[in-house]
């Protein structure tokens, strides 16, 4: 596709349920990032993939959060037993691997609301 695509664009879930958020990066982009933006906050780094491996998972807030990437393309962020504080906009970005200077291109985000 032409840009980074995320689905769903909006998700309302009940507290305690699991959710899966999907990201389709730009074709050929091997670096993929997940960020989240809570209300009134900045962009909080969650996890970073190079290909299918995640060299930096330092931003995942708890063990309820996990992410995987298959085929060096699509990534899924899974939140288990959702809590109200998980409510945020989850943003995915991708960039070319190996370039010293590279910008990341963002999707439109998934707005998650835990009720």
């Amino acid at each position: 596709g032409a840009g980074v695509s995320q689905s769903p664009s909006n998700k309302v879930t009940e507290k305690g349920k699991d959710v899966e958020l999907r990201c389709d990066p730009i074709s050929g982009h091997t670096a993929l990032y997940w960020y989240r933006q809570s209300l009134g906050q900045g962009l909080e780094f969650l996890i970073y993939f190079q290909g299918n491996s995640a060299p930096d998972k330092s931003g995942l807030p708890s063990d309820r959060f996990s992410a995987e990437r298959t085929g060096g393309s699509v990534s899924t962020l899974t939140i288990q037993r959702t809590q109200q504080e998980d409510s945020a906009v989850y943003l995915c970005a991708s960039s070319l691997e190996g370039l010293y200077n590279t910008e990341a291109f963002f999707g439109q985000g998934t707005r998650l609301t835990v009720v």
């Binding site: 780094f45 943003l91 970005a93 010293y100 990341a104 963002f106």
Partner: protein, 111 residues
């Protein structure tokens, strides 16, 4: 540990005037800096970047300045236009790795 800081949550500027958005960082090893612009309900879009080997990069109305000794960068928009009203994020990276973002500054350009 906030490695990239934008200390002004908001800025209001008159149309036609200069907007100056500031960003400070703590890690002297950062080698690449970027500015992103974000409209409501949209993902951030890349605006302009600068390598640590430079101190200025210009693209049309947008200029980014980097002061490595002060660990400070700024984005100048001149002349400011109402369509520039958005949240601006600065970001820094190390050796092509993850981008670390500041908290953002909401710019409002008034006609």
């Amino acid at each position: 540990d906030q490695q990239v800081k934008q200390n002004s949550p908001s800025l209001s500027v008159q149309e036609g005037r200069i907007s100056i958005l500031n960003c400070d960082y703590t890690n002297s090893m950062f080698d690449y800096f970027l500015w992103y612009k974000k409209y409501p309900a949209e993902g951030p879009t890349f605006l302009i970047s600068i390598s640590s080997i430079k101190d200025k990069n210009e693209d049309g109305r947008f200029t980014v300045f980097l002061n490595k000794s002060a660990k400070h960068l700024s984005l100048h928009i001149v002349p400011s236009q109402p369509g520039d009203s958005a949240v601006y994020f600065c970001a820094a990276s190390l050796e092509g790795g993850k981008l670390i973002f500041g908290q953002g500054t909401e710019l409002s350009v008034k006609p």
